[in-house]
């Protein structure tokens, strides 16, 4: 038994009946909008006609001319009102008719379902009746056989006679039942056919209604003033242009408003032009026509529908062949692919490709077809020079979709260096500097490229790119541009991707520390500058062992070791040392200033931690003593200068309290050259006392930021100690008792009206003492508890080596808890190992407090 087509249970289609597509509600919404717009324009027409009344007394030629324009524009507005009214009516009529047709189709489907159910029932009844008939015939045969057997021997067979009569009755009833079911089946099939006719009619009526409505809308379009300019409605004009293009008449596109045409026609024009371009690009006799086509395309490179039609039609593989053919078409001969005529001819095609890739509507398999399988890149290396030249001929890289441009970069820069994709070629060292600089013009593509990995994720792209740059012998400027774009420029639009790219650069760079080309210096120090707060955060986490909140928008997963190694690499490089030192010093100074200005132990701890990372990185860096001193001094000077710049001098009476000299002295102690060079021993004894300079610095900063009166500078000496020789005396300022809100409660109360030297000293100790202790504790804690330097790993002064038997001699007995080792030249190198405990405990108290 066969069933009518259509999915069982579907409410929109059954037995060949479908409910016409469309949404009457949406069409009515459109009608309502048309109506509102028409109403709005009616008001505007009235407003236009009312304007002349504002200048009723105006007389003269200009007045007459102007009155003429009001009539013209008023008429144009009236025409718009009428057109939009037609649109509203056409939409309403269509929505009503569509709804009726859909209702009729649904009713027909319901009828058809009911008829089908009856058909099924009738078929079953017929089948049952036939089975009953077969059983009756069998009963008749059996009875007749028994009757005949008995007759042969002359005996009656009354039971057989009874069975025969019964079977004949069953047969008659079954035949009647079949006949009845046949009748029902016929009626049901007729009903199904009627339902199908009703459904077909409903669908046909909906199509007719749509055509009628479309005619109305096309009439409205064709009657518009702009259609008068362009020659008809969009569809009519488009069909004419398409027909002319197909006939080879490119003049139809000259200066034409392609965006005025329906999308399908623009795409069809693109496809037609693609076919013509392919044919002409290899036709020696078609040179002039090909160039005419190229010029025509050049006028429409920004048209996304035409571009998609062009390249969707070709597909990636044929687009690649077309681009190559065009390049050969201009036969560069002894010229390179950047030869002007080649570039000029490529430009429209590349620009059109860029537009298509940026539209997001290009077919999904295009890039695969254009570039080919990654694991066959070894066969395509010879294509890369013309391919990159073609891509770059489009103009600005921002015209391309970032995914496509990333794919181009992967094809040229990454896949050939991937042993899996190209096992036989090894490092290629192709000159792709210009191409990398080009891709940098699209920061998103640059970010994708720098943050990716090779085919099996075994090596980051950043590492691959750095390896090639280091090995090429060039200045690496192209990669510098790429890194800067992907890690820095991209921050404005895609921070997570920029962070991921920066993280990969931070991880990869130390592996190539010995030969970083100069063209990378600016990009790499910019990464440090952008992420100095991230470095500071991991340094604080590591130094304190605490769970400190990450700065906003931080790199996810950055570790202390990664930050340390990256900073070490930059400090070791002569071309980046100064900038890296300045970045670290500036940030430490900002932390110190914020710590003082806001009484923030967190900021001070951050600053201390970052200074430690800077010191440790310098200690580990492969550089001479002079270079190390340069790095440390650079950080100290930068920090000092920055802090002086941050202090508002307007609040400092007479002259700046915080001088370069004081700041330099203080930060010189935070970035100790001697300690690094001499394995820290110079720090240990004098370290705590030496922070007097920092205390003085902090006190001065508190004065400058208004937290303490200037008079406190008279009692806190330059070395941080306090002069209490006149402790009980009231501090005099301009002949008056000093009054100051020492407890910062917003009021001057009690003894604050007559501040004594002792009270001032106590307040200074309470404020600057806390911050001073935080810095000091953090310093010692980090230095001695968590990051005890590996003396053996530190660089040696000139003239010494690890093989020198005089160095080192471990095992000497420590004194007072100090471990003594023999340093270079026989000096004692001591490391403090136990004195840290009370200091660490104090730091813990500060954190808890």
């Amino acid at each position: 038994m066969s069933r009518p087509d259509g999915p069982a249970g579907s409410s929109d289609a059954f037995a060949g009946i479908t409910v016409p597509d469309g949404d009457p509600g949406a069409v009515r919404d459109a009608a309502a909008t048309f109506r509102r717009a028409a109403h709005g324009l009616e008001g505007i027409a009235s407003d236009l006609r009312a304007v002349p009344a504002l200048v009723a007394d105006w007389r003269g030629p200009a007045s007459a001319a102007w009155h003429g324009t009001t009539v013209t524009n008023g008429s144009a507005t009236d025409a718009a009102v009428e057109a939009l009214g037609v649109c509203a009516q056409a939409a309403t009529t269509y929505a009503d008719e569509l709804e009726r047709c859909q209702t009729r189709a649904r009713a027909a489907i319901a009828d058809a379902r009911a008829a089908q159910a009856r058909i099924d029932t009738a078929h079953a009844a017929i089948e049952s009746a036939r089975a009953q008939q077969r059983a009756a015939y069998a009963g008749i045969d059996t009875a007749n056989h028994a009757i005949a057997t008995h007759a042969a021997v002359g005996t009656p067979a009354p039971q057989a006679q009874q069975a025969l009569a019964s079977a004949q009755g069953e047969l008659h009833r079954a035949q009647s039942a079949e006949s009845s079911a046949d009748g029902q089946l016929g009626q049901a099939e007729a009903d199904l056919a009627a339902a199908q006719r009703q459904g077909a009619q409903a669908e046909s009526d909906a199509i007719a209604a749509a055509r009628s409505a479309a005619g109305a809308f096309q009439g409205v379009a064709g009657g518009s003033p702009i259609a008068a300019v362009f020659g008809g409605s969009p569809a009519a004009v488009g069909d004419q242009i398409l027909a002319r293009v197909r006939a080879g008449d490119l003049s139809a596109l000259a200066g034409g408003p392609l965006n005025y045409l329906p999308t399908r026609i623009q795409r069809a024009i693109g496809a037609e032009l693609a076919d013509q371009a392919v044919a002409l690009s290899t036709d020696p006799d078609g040179h002039d026509r090909f160039m005419a086509l190229t010029r025509t395309l050049g006028e429409h490179t920004g048209d996304a529908d035409l571009a998609n039609g062009f390249y969707d039609h070709l597909g990636g593989e044929e687009a690649n062949q077309l681009a190559h053919s065009i390049g050969l078409f201009q036969t560069p001969g002894g010229h390179g692919w950047d030869y002007g005529p080649v570039q000029d001819t490529w430009h429209p095609y590349a620009a059109l490709l860029a537009t298509a890739t940026r539209s997001g509507e290009l077919r999904a398999d295009f890039a695969d077809g254009f570039f080919g399988p990654a694991d066959e890149v070894g066969d395509r290396l010879g294509q890369h020079p013309w391919m990159t030249a073609f891509v770059m001929s489009a103009g600005a890289a921002s015209r391309y979709g970032s995914t496509f441009l990333y794919r181009a970069g992967k094809e040229v820069l990454i896949d050939p260096e991937d042993a899996f994709n190209n096992p036989n070629s090894g490092p290629l060292h192709e000159d792709n500097e210009a191409f990398m600089s080009y891709v940098a013009g699209n920061p998103q593509a640059a970010g994708l490229l720098v943050s990716g990995t090779n085919s099996h994720g075994a090596m980051s792209n950043a590492s691959t790119l750095l390896r090639v740059a280091v090995g090429s012998g060039g200045d690496g400027a192209g990669l510098g541009d790429l890194i800067r774009a992907g890690t820095h420029d991209l921050r404005a639009t895609n921070l997570p991707l920029a962070n991921a790219a920066a993280h990969d650069v931070i991880q990869a760079t130390p592996g190539y520390a010995d030969h970083i080309p100069s063209g990378l210096h600016d990009a790499l120090t910019t990464v440090l500058d952008d992420h100095i707060r991230d470095f500071e955060h991991v340094a604080t986490q590591y130094g304190t062992g605490g769970d400190w909140p990450a700065p906003p928008d931080a790199i996810t997963g950055l570790t202390y070791d990664e930050g340390h190694d990256y900073l070490r690499t930059l400090l070791a490089d002569e071309g980046m040392r100064a900038d890296a030192s300045t970045i670290v010093g500036d940030r430490v100074a900002e932390d110190l200033f914020n710590g003082v200005a806001h009484d923030s132990t967190v900021d001070l701890t951050n600053g201390g931690s970052l200074s430690q990372m800077g010191v440790m990185a310098a200690a580990d860096a492969d550089m001479s003593a002079a270079e190390r001193a340069d790095a440390m001094n650079g950080m100290a000077q930068a920090a000092g200068g920055k802090l002086v710049g941050l202090i508002p001098t307007s609040r400092v009476p007479g002259a700046a309290f915080v001088t370069d000299k004081v700041a330099s002295a203080a930060f010189g102690e935070m970035f100790p050259t001697d300690a690094v060079n001499e394995a820290w021993d110079a720090r240990e004894g004098a370290q705590a006392a030496s922070y007097g300079h920092i205390k003085k610095l902090i006190t001065d900063a508190q004065v400058a930021t208004g937290q303490m009166p200037p008079a406190v500078s008279d009692i806190v000496r330059a070395d941080g100690t306090v002069d209490l020789s006149h402790a009980s005396e009231v501090v005099q300022v301009d002949g008056h008792d000093l009054a100051f809100d020492l407890d910062h409660d917003g009021r001057i109360t009690g003894d604050e009206h007559h501040v004594t030297v002792q009270a001032l000293a106590d307040a200074a100790a309470g404020d600057s003492g806390t911050t001073f202790d935080a810095v000091n504790a953090l310093h010692q804690n980090v230095y001695n508890a968590h990051h005890l330097p590996d003396v053996d790993a530190l660089p040696l002064p000139d003239g010494y080596s690890r093989d020198n038997p005089g160095f080192p001699e471990p095992g000497a007995v420590g004194d007072g808890g100090r471990e003594r080792v023999r340093g270079a030249g026989g000096r004692d190198v001591r490391r403090r190992v136990d004195a840290v405990r009370p200091v660490a405990a104090r730091a813990e108290r500060h954190r808890a407090g």
Binding site: F34, A37, D47, V55, N73, A210, A214, G215, A221
Partner: protein, 94 residues
């Protein structure tokens, strides 16, 4: 030739025309939603294209109208200024 002009009134008329031009642009912008909902509910590609085409055509036309009205508004304002300048400078005060 008789010329009569109230510079202030002409300037006001210019400003009014500029306002009207903006109103025309706003109506044109509203039509975009009509094209979107109409095309979405059309049911056939042909009708969807026709609705979009009609809206695009009239949006283009209204843009032309708006440009015209705004331009005339600017000309009115310029005329008002010109009338005033000429009137004030034609005969220098003795």
């Amino acid at each position: 030739m008789r010329i009569e002009a109230d510079a202030g009134a002409i300037s006001s008329a210019g400003a009014r025309q500029s306002q009207i031009a903006t109103a025309i642009t706003n109506v044109s912008t509203d039509l975009t939603s009509a094209a979107e909902s109409g095309a979405a509910g059309a049911g056939t590609p042909g009708l969807a294209e026709a609705i979009t085409g009609a809206v695009q055509s009239w949006q283009g036309s209204l843009a032309m109208l708006s440009t015209s009205v705004a331009g005339i508004g600017r000309n009115l304002s310029g005329s008002a200024t010109a009338y005033q300048v000429v009137d004030e400078t034609a005969i220098p005060a003795g």
